[in-house]
């Protein structure tokens, strides 16, 4: 099936999200759409999927113009979409989810569960993996949930498959497996649209690359293009992809963590006897596949976890068991992994969010009274200094793009005297331009001589920022290795295999 978009234009008020976009996707091809956050990729796909109606332009399938009033029409026409956030019912089984909205019934309105189970197994076998049709979604790992989404789309005979940022939730291994599946689907003659801002994946997968910037197609690129070429097309100027930093200048500051154990309410051990030291002037990166205790470790450093044993000593002061207020007052800067849930109050303005954790005293409050004049002047200075792209200090942060929202947090945490910086996933869901900026700021803090901990699941980021790398697996530290450790060794460490046990690895 040949999909053609002609002159798609989508406006929101005076803002043009898609400006006369042309796109041709052939069957048997993986067509990557590359662009920064906010470039208009998702809007374009929502137009294709019938969620938005474009003001101008048309959608053609095999040369026939289509009109989609909603996703139902798009699905019926053979377009399937795997969303970034899965559209699955957690308490339903795999088979139930696959049949949902497309149920086969036996007589008397009974659901034909057997047929659904067979369908799941068939499609799974075809793609070379097995998913138990009777497992409930909530019991499955994220990577497998995504496969269920793929099965769901295929079970409706979709010929054009759209993947919207599919790798953002996956481990490196799961990403590789997904890529294999995508290539197989291509070889079976499906047309695949793969949306991403990750250059490495796009280069590996694509048969054809279309780059979108500010709602316009800025050009097509070959899969053989270099990262730097793609990045500069995407951003519109040259981008420095590697983090430039000097050798660490170690100061006398120290964070010492000894035998830290974090236990969940149900008794599960989330962080298992982790010990490490971070010296002032160096960055310790905590790497690992998401969900192996890194977030809990970071949270424990701010006093957010309930049951913590062991000791956390910062510059000689014992901090174990202190509440977040005391931790913040001790000079800890904290960038939480989930910025919308933990870092920002969405309905508050930028100015209010910039003082969120400093409302307890001077200079933002005096005798229980907010100092609004100071707050507004502070905010006005910070949005310039940290290059927050906004319409004003009174804009609600929920209306900012991911990168700009993250810059608000970075501005808040870095504009006070720090004795320790803990940054969890500092660039997750952030566009390339902002990543560069945030990385530079983190290195500036390191060079100011404080200990810095960066928790990240992005290996590129870990390798770029770290002076040393600690890899976590199932709550425990697999090892602490230098930043120049080869990636395959790090990869195996992320699977729980310590370097000394890896065969053929340099000792």
């Amino acid at each position: 099936m040949r999909l053609e978009l002609r002159g798609i234009t989508k406006r929101f008020g005076t803002f043009v999200a898609n400006d006369a976009i042309d796109l041709v996707v052939e069957s048997g091809q993986i067509h990557c759409i590359l662009g920064e956050n906010g470039a208009g990729k998702s809007t374009l796909m929502n137009c294709l999927y019938g969620l938005y109606r474009a003001e101008e332009g048309e959608i053609l399938l095999d040369g026939v113009p289509q009109r989609f009033a909603g996703p139902g029409d798009a699905m019926a026409a053979g377009i399937g979409m795997v969303h970034q956030h899965f559209m699955l019912v957690p308490v339903f089984t795999v088979a139930e989810n696959v049949m949902l909205g497309n149920e086969n019934t036996l007589g008397g309105g009974l659901l034909d569960m057997a047929a659904a189970r067979t369908r799941v197994t068939e499609i799974g076998d075809q793609l070379g993996f097995h998913v138990d049709p009777d497992t409930r979604i909530e019991d499955l790992p994220v990577g497998v949930q995504q496969r269920v989404e793929i099965i769901k789309v295929l079970s409706r005979d979709a010929q054009v498959l759209v993947f919207d940022e599919p790798t953002s939730v996956l481990t490196p291994q799961e990403t590789d497996e997904l890529m294999a599946i995508l290539k197989q689907l291509r070889n079976e003659g499906k047309a695949i649209i793969f949306i991403s801002h990750k250059l490495r994946e796009v280069r590996e997968l694509a048969d054809k690359i279309t780059v979108i910037r500010r709602g316009k197609v800025v050009g097509e690129a070959l899969p053989t293009s270099t990262n730097a070429e793609l990045a500069s097309m995407m951003v519109g100027r040259d981008v420095i992809l590697t983090v430039t930093k000097d050798a660490p200048k170690i100061t006398s500051n120290r964070l010492e963590v000894t035998d830290l154990v974090v236990t969940a309410d149900d008794g599960a051990v989330l962080v298992d006897k982790v010990s490490f030291t971070v010296k002032g002037g160096e960055v310790l990166c905590v790497a690992g596949v998401d969900g192996n205790g890194q977030s809990e470790l970071a949270n424990a450093l701010l006093g957010l976890e309930g049951q913590v044993t062991g000791s956390i000593v910062l510059n000689g002061a014992e901090l174990t068991g202190k509440n977040p207020r005391k931790m913040l007052d001790a000079g800890i800067g904290f960038i939480p992994a989930d910025r919308n849930e933990d870092g920002l109050v969405g309905s508050f303005t930028i100015a209010e969010n910039l003082m969120l954790n400093r409302s307890n005293g001077l200079p933002f409050a005096k005798g229980g009274v907010l100092q609004l004049g100071f707050r507004d002047q502070f905010a006005a200075e910070k949005i310039v200094e940290y290059d927050v792209r906004t319409e004003g200090i009174n804009q609600e942060v929920s209306r900012l793009s991911g990168g700009n929202a993250q810059k608000v947090i970075v501005a808040r945490e870095m504009s006070k005297d720090l004795s320790l910086l803990v940054a969890a996933q500092p660039t997750r869901g952030v566009d390339v331009g902002s990543i560069e900026f945030i990385h530079k700021r983190i290195i500036e803090e390191r060079d100011a001589g404080i200990p810095v901990i960066v928790v990240s699941t992005e290996l590129d980021e870990v390798v770029g920022l770290a002076d040393r790398i600690m890899v976590m697996y199932r709550g425990a530290a697999v090892g602490i290795v230098p930043a120049d450790t080869p990636r395959d060794i790090l990869g195996l460490m992320m699977a729980g295999i310590a370097p000394e046990n890896q065969e053929g690895a340099p000792a």
Partner: protein, 466 residues
């Protein structure tokens, strides 16, 4: 996007338009705007055009804001109320049976009913003198006083993301506290304003205590505050009944029915004008105090942060459990004042019985909803509901319209308020525009930045000159 990384010199304002940041957010937010086909291009070229746009924006903001929706909801509720009046009117029923003209009967039924409602709540033009004419308004404001105070109490919890359904219990505690101090200290010889003050503060403290208990149970045990406050209503009510039925506690020793001794004059709120007493002035002060608390104090900042995103509040070092207790204490104190007002109101002489809360604890929830949880909104919503309370009874007494219709109109108002899209659709009001608000923000920020830039420049000059 192109200069996303070039560190901008600190004094240079950021580009005011064409921001990529807004892109994806607008993409999500404006699906509805788009559906209504709004937001045509607004090129700002000439200063005149700019001025013109500003007026249009202002008009649009008023029309699309909550105020317009609230106003529309009130009108709709009265329209539906008219239907109910028509069909419950005996003349109209007779007319439908062929006995007279349906339309004239219906018209006069509606006019009579709303005429009585207005004469009972705002202005009685049939009154013999000014005092008689203004009397309904003073009654409205008197009824509004406890509604405003209790509505503020509920609104404070709404702002903190909590639901206080315990208005009844907290009012009863306010009444118990102030009542006990009023007749308990009758013979202590405390002079008038001081005794009154003690009673008001005692009532607010008692309400605060009962509110804080709910907050404490939620913070400590994780029990849901809706369940807890509803249950505490029953506890308070039955406690009051016990106190009223037990000689030596709160029952008037001179009587056999469950009623307290009369409230002495030294503890009564002094009359302000006609039926109105100084309690209304206190409720106005409470409105101002609440506004200040929520918008200008660090405590209010914590309340709102916890209300909007408790997780982020916790990460920001705000003690969520403690904030919950404080919010409920503040809420209980405000509602406690409503209870104290009912006890100390000079227009209801004698002691009080177990109906002292008079349904105000629950009406407070609707008042807070109608007022959009903002103190000023609660003030107007409280006055409106006070008018219904004052005007409903005369409506029944004079023209035979069931007083329940006044209650139904109140309920309809809240239902329509809860469905802004419906009201907007009926009155063809514009959708609130994100772009308009953003533009206003942009102008404000531009000013602040210019100011900051000037300050920085001045500082630099000083440094140079030194």
């Amino acid at each position: 996007m192109s200069d996303a990384l070039t560190p901008t010199p600190p004094v240079e304002p950021p580009p005011p338009t064409e921001q990529d940041g807004v892109a994806d957010e607008l993409a999500e937010a404006s699906a509805f705007d788009e559906a209504l086909n709004l937001g045509a291009a607004e090129p700002e070229v000439t200063p005149e055009a700019e001025e013109d746009n500003r007026w249009r924006e202002a008009a649009r903001e008023i029309l699309s804001g909550r105020l317009a929706v609230a106003f529309g909801a009130v009108i709709l509720a009265f329209l539906v109320g008219s239907l109910l009046i028509v069909f419950t009117n005996s003349n109209v029923q007779a007319a439908m049976g062929g006995d007279g003209n349906f339309f004239s009967a219906a018209g006069s039924a509606i006019i009579d009913a709303y005429d009585a409602l207005i004469r009972g709540s705002i202005w009685n033009w049939q009154g013999r003198n000014f005092n008689a004419q203004i009397l309904p308004l003073t009654r409205t404001l008197r009824h509004a006083t406890p509604l405003i105070a209790a509505g503020l109490g509920v609104a404070v919890t709404f702002k903190a993301g909590l639901f206080n359904i315990g208005g009844r219990g907290q009012m009863i505690f306010g009444a118990i506290g102030s009542g006990w101090l009023a007749f308990g200290l009758r013979d202590a010889g405390i002079p008038f304003p001081l005794h009154l003050l003690i009673c008001i503060i005692g009532g607010m403290l008692a309400g605060a205590l009962w509110g804080a208990l709910a907050g404490f149970l939620k913070a400590k045990t994780g029990a849901h505050e809706v369940i807890v406050t509803i249950m505490l209503n029953f506890v308070a009510y039955h406690l009051l009944q016990y106190l009223l039925a037990t000689p030596g506690l709160m029952q008037d020793p001179a009587r056999f029915d469950p009623i307290t001794p009369p409230i002495p004059g030294s503890a009564r709120l002094p009359a302000l004008y006609s039926d109105l007493n100084w309690g209304f002035v206190i409720s106005l002060l409470l409105v101002a105090a609440c506004w200040w608390l929520l918008n200008r104090s660090t405590a209010g900042f914590a309340f709102r942060a916890v209300g909007e995103n408790p997780r982020a509040a916790k990460v920001a070092g705000i003690n969520v459990a403690r904030t919950t207790v404080i919010v409920f204490a503040v809420s209980g104190a405000l509602i406690g004042f409503a209870g104290a007002h009912q006890v100390l109101d000079p227009a209801s002489p004698g002691g009080f019985g177990d109906t002292i809360d008079g349904g105000i604890g629950f009406d407070a929830i609707t008042v807070a909803l109608l007022g959009g949880s903002s103190p000023v909104g609660v003030l107007f919503a409280g006055i409106l509901f006070g008018a219904f309370r004052a005007g409903g009874v005369p409506m029944q007494a004079q023209v035979g319209v069931p007083a329940e219709i006044a209650t139904i109109i109140q309920i309809l108002i809240v239902m329509f308020i809860a469905a802004p899209p419906l009201v907007r659709a009926i009155f063809r009001l514009p959708q609130p525009s994100q772009a308009a608000k953003a533009k206003k923000d942009a102008r404000k920020t531009q000013k602040t930045i210019t100011k900051a830039a000037r300050l920085t420049a001045k500082n630099n000059e000083e440094v140079v000159s030194e």
